[in-house]
């Protein structure tokens, strides 16, 4: 345990030292703390404003929180993914002569910290906002900090570290837990189906006896009923059951044999998590940890190309092997946005009388927000082979991004044709909107190359994206301003061609600047 404490303490100390050395990180940390306190104070005021600053109000909030935490913890622990280990744990900690249970409990310290912070916030809010007696809030705090943590730690240990149950059987335990969670969710849904989704039914839900009878989570909520509202037959019985279940789970977890069978899953998850962090660091949009090994289709086509053109055909070959060719999550998101807004905004857009302008606005917005969207071209610059190809930098830039332009054209068609048709935009304007979308995506890509080239690793990916957005807004804003001016003063029909021509000119210029990046691997910064 001494070694694990040493590890945590030194890591914390060094992280703080590092943060102090970097004023921006320190400012972000201080800003985050101030923001956190501000949000809590605002929530306290909100509770007063909407008049839920009563015992029942606190009970409602703690019920929602308990259900939320219970679901989150059970779901992640049952799939052995709730505790974040690093690859360094697999190297230094797992092979060390430290009890696997201790390593597990230590690994989840961040989870406990969150529970303790929340319990402290509830304690302070209970006394100040909800005007509850101190002794009741002390009991409340102890339930949150001691009983809940004991329960969580025991369940976690049982699900992770049980070496007696085979891996296959453990999967079944996980499935049963997930089925239980689905059952609890269905019960809550059924309640609201029966009593309707109204404010009254929601308030009654928190007093509903059925809720307190749900094993573990309901019994836990029942303990809060007992503390805050006083004894009643139901909450006495359910709280007793909760205490017994905590004691039982703790005893099982304590005496359970564990020789580190979970290390295999934990090490795999640590690698997947590290990969996900790296992808995020690279600015990619990551939706899950630990993707399954990708399966590729067999391709019979044979392509031949020389010079930089070979880059394009290699990418084409790679995309042909993909399950959905060039269509990705981005295509799905674009389709969803197009279908959603075409119906949701139809009436309000038609009322404005200028649906084409709204379409243009959405096209511009989509270009600015899609920062996490990376294609195969992003990896081209990282590969030394690109710089060894005997061709001009402009051609290398063009052919390594050509497939992205085709993808942008496809996404642009989906977005603009669906929205434009639903909103009654003229076909000519829809076609121009598609081209504007494609050019703006190219513009985004090229500005990103220029920004990366000039800044190197400074400001991080988020900082670089903000700078990229600012440059894009500044360069394109001029053209948009001019187009709007001409549109207002002369003819609204000029807006689309002006924006299209202007964006093409700007994009070509930025593209030429970006091509410098393709001279050598070394960046300017």
């Amino acid at each position: 345990m001494r070694a694990l404490f040493y590890l945590t303490k030194q890591s914390l100390v060094n992280n703080v030292k590092r943060a102090v050395k970097k004023p921006i990180t320190l400012l972000i940390m201080i800003g985050g703390i101030i923001y956190g306190v501000f949000v809590i104070v605002m929530l306290g005021q909100l509770v007063r404003t909407v008049k839920v600053d009563s015992v029942r109000g606190l009970l409602a909030i703690v019920t929602i929180w308990t259900i939320y935490m219970f679901f989150g913890n059970f779901a992640s622990y049952s799939s052995r993914k709730g505790i974040i280990f690093r690859p360094a744990h697999a190297h230094f900690v797992f092979p060390a002569p430290i009890s696997p249970k201790l390593i597990l409990i230590h690994g989840a310290w961040m989870n406990y910290l969150l529970s303790i912070i929340v319990a402290i916030v509830f304690f302070i809010a209970g006394i100040t906002v909800f005007q509850i007696e101190v002794w009741r809030m002390l009991l409340f705090f102890l339930t949150g900090c001691v009983l809940e943590l004991l329960m969580e730690g025991s369940i976690m240990t049982y699900l992770y570290a049980n070496d007696r149950i085979s891996a296959e059987n453990m999967k079944w335990v996980g499935r049963i837990i997930r089925a239980f969670l689905i059952g609890v969710s269905l019960l809550i849904i059924l309640y609201f189906r029966r009593y309707g989704l109204t404010l009254e039914s929601a308030w009654s839900f928190f007093d509903w006896p059925g809720l307190q009878m749900i094993p573990f989570v309901g019994w836990n909520i029942s303990a809060y009923h007992l503390i805050l509202l006083g004894p009643a037959p139901l909450n006495i019985v359910c709280t007793t059951l909760y205490l017994l279940s905590v004691a039982g789970m703790f005893a099982v977890a304590r005496h359970m044999k564990c020789e580190g069978g979970y290390y295999e899953d934990a090490a795999k998850f640590a690698d997947d998590y590290a990969e996900m962090k790296q992808q995020k660091k690279n600015g990619e949009m990551v939706t899950s940890v630990g993707k399954k090994k990708k399966k590729f289709r067999r391709v019979k086509e044979h392509y031949e190309a020389t010079g930089a053109k070979a880059i394009f055909y290699r990418q084409l070959l790679e995309y042909k092997k993909e399950k959905y060719f060039i269509f990705s999550k981005m295509t799905l998101l674009t389709l969803f946005i197009a279908v959603f807004f075409s119906y949701m905004m139809k009436d309000s857009v038609t009322e404005t009388g200028m649906p084409q302008m709204i379409l243009l606005g959405i096209v511009g917005y989509m270009t600015l927000i899609t920062t996490g969207y990376l294609g195969k071209w992003e990896n081209e610059i990282k590969s030394p082979y690109l710089f060894l190809v005997p061709d001009s930098p402009i051609k290398k830039l063009w052919y390594s991004t050509l497939m992205e332009h085709i993808k942008a054209l496809a996404d642009g068609c989906i977005l603009c044709i669906i929205l434009g048709t639903a909103w009654g935009v003229r076909p000519g304007q829809i076609a121009m909107a598609v081209l504007i979308y494609t050019v703006l995506q190219a513009n985004r890509m090229y500005i990103k190359v220029v920004v990366q080239c000039l800044l190197g690793d400074s400001f991080g990916k988020t900082g670089q994206d903000i700078i990229r957005m600012l440059i894009q807004m500044m360069t394109l804003g001029l053209g948009i301003g001019a187009a709007v001016l001409v549109g207002t003063l002369i003819n609204i029909d000029f807006v689309f061609p002006i924006i299209l021509i202007y964006s093409i000119i700007v994009t070509v210029i930025i593209g030429l600047l970006a091509s410098f990046r393709f001279y050598s691997m070394e960046q300017f910064a």
Binding site: A3, Q10, S11, A88, H91, F92, P95, A96, G261
Partner: protein, 237 residues
């Protein structure tokens, strides 16, 4: 002493290690040779307790999963992974605490000097190159004063000076009675180290030799004799 009996390990339907038996007595260097994907790293990871497996692994006669056994062995993985926020020295201190090692400061200083890490003690884990990480990993393994030491491709990423030093350190450990197991496919790197060799292919140990049994034959010749793979001239033996 390292003893493996009927060790099997599957990843889903893929059988990575199939009923492997292996024994290395005290004071000997064993080398586990084989092509990529033969199952060498899987065996090492099983011994280190990082994988579930069937069979029995004994460290000085104690089951490898027991904490008493873990105190006796140390592990140098193929890919070192450092804690980002720990310095080189803190990694070593952590290991010293974890193993309750009796290694004294002078010994640590000497190891750091031998692996040219002495002036890099305050560098954080995320500031180290792959080669430096490997050196830290080796120093951490040595700080535990192991009775059994496992090294998975330990020479990869090391500079010639560090390779020479590592070989010397391993021979010193052997001379003090420790058991050494090195998994590698770089035959020339372990030529002067080995006492007993095991060749793995397709999840099995296909053969083993003791150095005193083979006379003047080098490792290279013995390896290709067993695997039947093309020799320098491209001919099959």
């Amino acid at each position: 002493m390292l003893e493996i009996q009927e060790l099997s390990k599957s990843y889903g339907k893929h059988l990575a290690v199939d009923k492997v038996n292996l024994f290395i007595p005290d004071g000997q260097v064993g080398v586990l040779l084989g092509p990529n994907g033969a199952g060498k790293s899987t065996i090492i990871k099983c011994i280190a307790g990082l994988l579930r497996y069937d069979g029995r692994i004994g460290i000085q006669g104690i089951g490898a999963k027991k904490l008493e056994a873990k105190k006796l062995f140390s592990y140098v993985p193929e890919m070192p992974s450092m804690f980002d926020a720990l310095t080189v020295r803190e990694h070593i201190e952590f290991v010293r605490n974890a193993y309750n090692s009796s290694a004294e400061d002078e010994y640590i200083e000497e190891m750091l000097k031998r692996f040219e890490l002495h002036d890099k003690q305050d560098k954080l884990g995320n500031e180290l190159s792959k080669g430096m990480m490997q050196k830290v990993s080796i120093c951490c393994a040595l700080v535990t004063l192991p009775k059994v030491i496992l090294l998975d491709e330990p020479m990869v990423g090391l500079d010639p000076g560090a390779i020479k030093e590592l070989k010397a350190v391993l021979l010193e450990l052997r001379d003090k009675g420790a058991t050494v197991l090195i998994s590698t496919h770089m035959l020339e790197m372990v030529e002067e180290l080995w006492d007993i060799m095991f060749v793995m292919e397709k999840s099995h140990i296909i053969g083993s030799y003791k150095k005193d049994e083979v006379g003047e034959k080098d490792l290279d010749a013995l390896f290709f004799e067993m695997t039947g793979k093309p020799d320098k001239g491209g001919e099959k033996r």
